[in-house]
Symmetry: D2
Subunit: 371 residues, 4 copies
């Protein structure tokens, strides 16, 4: 038997023990991951839905988890918080979705009923928030259990493209909400985005909803800057020499930017944002930070700036869906590599060497092939 | 001749040399100030007005200048950026004010024509901003030259009280704009003000425009906290033991506050704000900072908070005047000590020992007595 | 047997036929209402709760229904959309409330899951909105079925006063949301409220959250104006002579008001709002209108005004609860008459003659006495 | 001598009587206009500038004036409120502009000092607002006097195109401020613009700053609709049959639009807006109305809509300039016809027959040829 045949056989016999199984990408402690058999998820609460994953993708955060940076993730956890799929089963409390519905899975679980959800701050939902592939099993699998399904799934549009729309699970709402909305990008603005990785590029794509006049993209990697240029950046600054802030200030004749968006998560990139924000400007943080930063209040106290942080709420998903459907946003651009889910171990290798591989988003499909 | 007679005589003969003089509080380098004769100011630009000061006051910033903390202030500078007075002379470009008008002097000079002024950001006016008693001569004198008078003066209302309204020169707009507006205080909010000095109390008074449900006042000094209680604080926390943040978190059952307002300007007080701000909350900085602070982005990145800084624009002065006139705000409450201007040296001594003297705002009047 | 005894007996035997009954105020077509036996409501959907009413009240809209103005109300309907009570039973989908919880019933039913609910526009909930006592049975009864209970009930605070908090079912959120929030009342503003009935007074009470400098109250009835004075109106205008707008314009020296709030629902009162709104001002409509009005676009097109309409969403209920609990709002002031529920027919008579009786809100209690 | 030579001679001798003259388009009562000699304007107030016009254009409002619809316009008035030119002379109070500066003339005169100007509501400036070519002489001439020049002129950018930027005098800020900003167009929105004349097309161009998903353009004229299509409208509805609203409601499956923008100024077009605005939507009025309209409050009172009116403030001119310079807006598209200023009588004929001539904006240049 070939491996494929073996896998097929395994699936076929997956109910031998009475518990149907599936294949999933499982975290086994720092540095260890495996694509292995796990029991298929089942309905546990009335608000649950079971979704069969057709498309998923890997997030930079998944790499952080694998490094052991997020100790809340325990061994045995199935990773992944992004995905498109088909509803297989729903609990008695689910009213918005039915078996057979094609859905976009949001990375954020929202009960819709708690005080935070009522304010649209789903990220801090008292029963949810970001839990998928973090404190509960995630989407890099054949099936996933989605708690609070009515608040955590979105209908996949009839004319949608899975590869494009899986970007709505997390990366696009993150760039848009944390970067663009919090940064209050306006027509005619001068914007700088620090970090041209997938998330910085998601900021770049969605910042253009508001017609800023100038978008500086700042990164260490010329290849990524070249991509940014194609995606609409008007000015590129390679920050490798440590003079990015200085250069930007020259180019803006000392005015700085209206909006500086941090899309990396390091003290050094955060420092650039502080140096380039103009009086009356906004710093919008998107990056995930692991350490404190030095905030130069002795320079900023009288500059009338605002600084924002945010875990994505995904509350703008319906708006983003409308913009995608209108053709004004093509999130599929972010996809550089494609794998079938069975090759997810290779996909991780590619994504883990993003710079070398020129990888942005790596898409995984469960296509016709079942494990 | 007594000193007083001598001074009177001096004034009487003040035009001997052809230049009329006046008395003024002059900075002579760190630690040195004198109440001495200076030439009366004259019109230099078409937009100038000369105002005869009837009431002034001392700001904490004046003490900073005297310590030498603001090197932009050069020796020989007349201090003071707050005052009420009567227009004595106007340049040809002044259209809103006439000789004899009673006016409130704003601490911020606004040309109204530059890009920042057009955005209402007078603090960064390209020809003004805070310059009074800083880079040009100020209001702790008998006369002051006010550049850009049309944008920098406000009509004193017919039924106004000078002692109350001199608080509109700086302290009330500062508390209101930097603390309350930037903090977006809303009905029902839980607010914490860190620092119960004059500026913190100005925040406290104006925060109540928006009917927050709870206002915590945090300070080291029980006397100031007692004042805060009288001014409307609902909860007091003495931070002397270093556990203020912990105590507040207990009192709010872990929720923290909707708005944390920093009204001191030190890393330690700024740190308290970071610890107590709830998810989705705002930190509004009012204090003047001399050093960087540590910003705990590793804890805040996913908390959906905003942090704002601001040099007062005084753009809300007309609004504040309306509220004062309606009786809903009594800024006179902030006045604890009164001196005639000739005793300004003593007034500085008192204000310089604010804690011991129980001093909040110290009012100076040029009343009937001329130097 | 007295009537009371008879009623008591009836209740005692209410399970005779197997269906428990209760007393309720039932609409029997225009002009006809009765306090009569009806089957007790039961759980029909997983999201339902059954609430035993302890306090209710009558709304002006109930009178409209009785006149036959709202043809969507069919014969046999139990009226009432305001109430406080205790949860008796919950469906399997209810997660926020449990048997025994004391609750405030919102006049608006919100599923929290539809597009409108997600925008906080519960009034247009695709499964709810205003349905209680309108298209489904209401709260003027001993028991009521509340669909979508998780979105339509609010926890009654431990220290709450039922009589005060029943005002949060509808009248306070209506005044606040439709009048004050939509009118964007700001500190220092000049506000006019047209109509000093219960809803206009609710606007008056909640407008003061934002410290307007001046509040004109305009009404035909001096008694109601006198109440408005006690509730915080600064200026009263009796509009009986048809010159209210003219008078207000004189008093504001031609400036008009920043915010004109229509709290009646007639072309004539709407016309006053158009005449008195200043350039840059807002007209916020609260009144329920039965006819078109003439909008003087030939005068208003260049006046930079906004005009808003709104069916209350009750999304601000948590905020209002906080303000009430802080003591800054005493909604109990609106209550002028009290009846036990068994006397609801008399209560309607009183409320129906509000002007003569000096009635504002009439409170009904199911107190200790069971029917 | 040819006519041209004669004119040249006239100009050459224009100082014969001591008063230099110029050619100008003069209103002589309803239906009467002439291109004739008038004295050149001179500085009257310190804030004045004299601008030599290089480019101007004709506005629909000029046609209204010629019909006699605006009785405030007196005989002898030079028309025109749009223009580009060069500063020839400035008063002593002008600080932002100097002789030789190339400028965009705003249709709105702003003193920057009054209460309305400080709020950015230049349209209601106590010393200005729309006065040019209305209550004072305008820009359809060789020279114009611009009062309050510092607030009423904008620097022409070095790389600017006069024909494109003259659209910033009025039509673009009008479309943007009154239609797009007041309508709060957001990414993903469904927008309808009623009226595809120049102003409706200006709305269409600037609405796209915010990436709405769908833009319906509604007009009677298929030619104009075809232009709208080219300019970015996604759906066209010819309203000639009176069923435009019905059609739109079908196309939106009963939802209606998020924003309905009235760009005509008639009761019938205003009525369409009322019929198509969805719950929670906005009606933004741009059209100039001569009559009252019927507002269906009996249908709208519970629909949570807002309706706005506005005379353009031109406060967004700096923002619009930035967007034009970034290439994201090409206002030159609006220009269909070009004339030298000497042919302005013909230009009026063309613009007066806009439908037949297919005219949108008609540009007039004072080019090299002097009258």
């Amino acid at each position: 038997m070939t491996t494929a045949e073996l896998e097929l056989a395994t699936t076929a016999t997956s109910t031998l023990s009475g518990t149907p199984t599936m294949k999933a990408l499982v975290y086994h402690g720092p540095g260890k991951r495996a694509w292995e058999h796990k029991p298929r998820p089942t309905i546990q609460e009335p608000g649950d839905a079971i979704v069969r994953i057709t498309t998923s993708t890997i997030c930079g955060t998944d790499l952080h988890i694998l490094k052991g940076d997020l100790p809340a993730v325990t061994e045995g956890r199935i990773l992944g918080h992004e995905g498109i799929g088909t509803v297989e089963q729903v609990g008695t409390g689910v009213s918005e979705f039915h078996v057979g519905d094609k859905v976009i899975i949001s990375c954020v679980t929202a009960c819709l009923k708690c005080d935070f959800c009522k304010r649209g701050m789903y990220s801090h939902c008292r029963r949810g928030g970001w839990i998928l592939g973090y404190t509960i099993d995630g989407t890099q699998a054949e099936y996933v259990r989605i708690p609070q399904a009515d608040g955590s799934l979105y209908s996949f549009p009839p004319d949608g493209d899975e590869e494009a729309l899986v970007m709505l699970s997390e990366i696009l709402p993150t760039g848009f909400e944390c970067g663009v909305l919090n940064g209050q990008v306006k027509p005619g603005d001068t914007v700088a985005i620090v970090g041209a990785g997938p998330i910085g590029l998601a900021v770049l794509l969605t910042a253009q909803f508001y017609s800023p006049a100038t978008i500086f993209m700042i990164d260490l990697d010329d290849k990524r800057l070249a991509v940014a240029k194609k995606f609409g950046a008007t000015n590129l600054i390679n920050s490798a020499d440590g003079h990015a802030a200085h250069r930007l200030m020259e180019l803006t004749e000392g005015a700085g930017v209206d909006v500086a968006i941090e899309a990396v998560g390091l003290p050094a990139t955060f420092a650039i944002c502080q140096e380039i924000v103009g009086a009356g400007g906004r710093i919008a943080n998107v990056g995930v930070h692991g350490k404190p930063v030095e905030l130069h209040m002795e320079k900023l106290w009288d500059r009338n700036i605002s600084l924002t942080t945010r875990l994505v709420d995904t509350a703008t998903t319906p708006m983003l869906l409308k913009v995608v459907r209108s053709g004004k946003l093509q999130p599929g651009k972010l996809v550089t590599h494609r794998f079938v889910m069975n090759d997810i171990m290779k996909a991780y290798d590619t994504f883990g060497n993003a710079a070398k591989e020129g990888a942005l988003k790596v898409v995984l499909t469960n296509g016709g092939s079942r494990s």
